[in-house]
């Protein structure tokens, strides 16, 4: 659809621009021999027809965009267009003058100088219209690009949120199965218990993943189950402490939000230290907010923390999507520990 015909306001603006130019042209061709009114009656209707005719430049601009067609060729095409259209306009003016003479016996006589002036005006008008259409095309293209990038952003955020809904690390499964395999011959009862824990954890996390919100009690339960399984793998290197105020347990939080933080605490904390330590989870109520803190030991000699890890970034994005203003995530490295503080509104 032609962008000027698509909206009435635009078309009106376009035509009033032309009317102004037509009046100007009429003024130029009224060198005393004609009255103002005569000149306008001759020129303005023809120019307005010319205006409508010039709308077709749009299709030329579309077919030969500025970005792909070489400039000399563009200039050539539009120059030929300008000369041809202007020639046509001059012929139409002459015809219209004849009609006027026949119809109401006006004594309008067009001299060669008038025709030259009209021809020049026609060329200029064509070029002006072409420039307008190029501008319009550029405007449309940039708006289209903007719309597409916005759409892409929306799509990306959508799929991101799905992916971020805490994918359980497959290596967790492989390592757990390896532990079970080791226990099978040495301690069959422990192997069976580990199998059950693993099954329960996966079942619970799949169920939690289907719901957008679960209670903090459920989320902490999942974290506990996860850590119990990792305790089998890491033995004495991993101890766990969960400390939550009773009144926060019933509050609802986005499901599996804590899970990647706890996974990080094991993967980047416990697994990177020889002596291991305690993964501590605390949950407190502060007014209309819930404060959750996860602390884990880190290797004192390592420089980086898991602050830029994908897991934490995912949590941060989810928090922003869910409650941008009232939620926050802060992760910091201290001398021998890594601390993640999460603040959530209590009324989710």
């Amino acid at each position: 659809m032609h962008p000027l015909l698509a909206q009435r306001e635009r078309l009106l603006l376009y035509l009033s621009g032309w009317a102004f130019l037509a009046t100007l042209l009429a003024a130029l061709t009224a060198p005393g021999r004609w009255t103002w009114f005569e000149a306008a009656a001759l020129i303005v209707p023809v120019t307005l027809v010319y205006a409508f005719f010039s709308l077709s430049i749009w299709y030329l601009v579309r077919a030969m965009p500025l970005t792909t067609v070489p400039i000399p060729r563009l200039v050539g095409v539009h120059l030929v267009g300008a000369l041809a259209s202007s020639m046509a306009m001059v012929l139409v003016v002459q015809g219209w003058a004849a009609v006027l003479r026949e119809l109401i016996r006006w004594s309008v006589a067009l001299t060669a100088a008038d025709l030259r002036l009209l021809f020049g005006g026609g060329v200029l008008l064509y070029l002006l219209a072409a420039a307008t259409h190029f501008l319009l095309a550029a405007f449309e293209t940039s708006r289209e690009a903007e719309r597409r990038s916005f759409e892409a952003q929306l799509l990306a955020r959508d799929s991101e949120l799905k992916a971020l809904r805490a994918q359980i690390d497959p290596h967790f499964l492989f390592n757990s199965l390896n532990s079970i395999s080791a226990l099978t011959s040495a301690d069959p009862a422990a192997a069976r218990m580990m199998t059950e824990r693993l099954a329960n954890f996966f079942r619970a996390s799949v169920a939690a993943g289907r719901q957008p919100l679960i209670t903090l009690d459920q989320e902490l339960g999942l974290a506990r189950q996860y850590l119990e399984i990792e305790q089998v793998r890491f033995g004495t290197r991993l101890s766990v402490a969960v400390d939550a105020d009773p009144d926060v347990l019933v509050l609802r939080i986005p499901s599996l939000l804590l899970q990647p933080i706890v996974e990080n605490a094991v993967k980047h904390g416990i697994a990177q230290t020889i002596e291991g330590g305690c993964v501590r989870i605390e949950a407190r109520r502060r007014g209309s907010q819930v404060h959750v803190r996860v602390t884990n030991p880190v290797d004192a000699e390592s420089t980086g923390g898991p602050g830029t890890s994908f897991g934490l970034e995912a949590v941060r994005l989810r928090l922003r999507a869910i409650a941008a203003a009232e939620a926050a995530l802060d992760a910091r490295r201290e001398a021998r520990s890594f601390v993640v503080d999460m603040i959530l509104p209590s009324d989710l």
């Binding site: 290596h171 492989f174 390592n175 199965l177 390896n178 532990s179 079970i180 395999s181 080791a182 226990l183 011959s185 040495a186 089998v232 793998r233 890491f234 033995g235 290197r237 697994a271 990177q272 230290t273 020889i274 290797d299 000699e301 420089t303």
Partner: protein, 244 residues
């Protein structure tokens, strides 16, 4: 002669499983089980094993770093839950790469490969990632007998060529490491370390001044007062870095 084997994994259960697989094959003896890379370096140096079964992900020193620090002729089999290191493993001439959970048939296959290489003496020497020029590191590992020093790159002041070794000076201490200057240069961050001379790499943060003392001959003074010759090529490198 029984095959002398060392098992390295930071997880007790993972070690137990590998030990079980090893004990199922005849003629093998586990001479050491190590729970971390430091123990592994010491054990491999002291016990001269035929086969080393080693995890990649471990605290402080990972499996590749352990191999970088030890000498000797032994077959390496990686045992890990992560498949993404397989290519690197074969580049350092590992005999095989087993994924956890390890299955018995696959273990036997890897073991036979290792044993045949050990017995026919067709073992290819373990290559280090440093020698492959692949690894840029933020710390330098140096073995001193059975002990391992971990020197953070930012703590290094200068690295000097010493015959077949490089001497790493960091915080007033000197460490010798068997490596070439070229390998060392490739491992260190080029934004921070400059080879100012064939036999000298300096940490640019330690540089105090550069002086001309003869035509085409300059001397760099570090903040600790030590002075080092700067070659013409070295000066060009320094200037490139400092101009930026």
């Amino acid at each position: 002669m029984p095959i002398r084997t060392i098992i390295v994994d930071d997880e007790p259960l993972a070690r137990r499983l590998v030990r079980e697989h090893v004990s199922a094959v005849t003629d093998a003896v586990v001479v050491a089980e190590c729970g971390n890379g430091f123990e592994a370096v010491k054990a491999i140096q002291e016990l001269a094993p035929d086969v080393v079964l080693i995890d990649v992900q471990m605290p402080k020193l990972n499996g590749f770093e352990v191999l970088e620090l030890v000498e000797g002729s032994f077959a390496v089999i990686f045992v890990t839950a992560h498949d993404e290191h397989a290519l690197r493993a074969f580049e350092v001439n590992a005999v095989d790469y087993l994924l956890k959970p390890v299955d018995a048939a696959r273990f036997r296959q890897a073991w036979e490969k290792a044993i045949s290489a050990v017995q026919r003496k067709t073992l290819r020497p373990v290559r280090t990632l440093g020698a492959l020029g692949q690894k840029r590191t933020d710390r330098i590992l140096i073995r001193d007998g059975g002990n391992v020093h971990v020197v953070p790159a930012e703590a290094i002041d200068v690295v000097l060529a010493q015959d077949d070794y490089v001497e790493v000076r960091a915080g007033g201490k000197k460490y010798l490491k068997q490596q070439t200057m070229g390998e060392m240069e490739a491992q260190l961050d080029p934004q921070r370390f400059v080879r100012i001379h064939r036999s000298t790499i300096i940490n640019i943060d330690r540089l105090a001044k550069i002086e001309l003392y003869a035509k085409d001959s300059r001397v760099a003074t570090l903040k600790d007062g030590s002075t080092w010759n700067v070659s013409r090529a070295g000066y060009d490198l320094l200037r490139q870095l400092l101009d930026r």
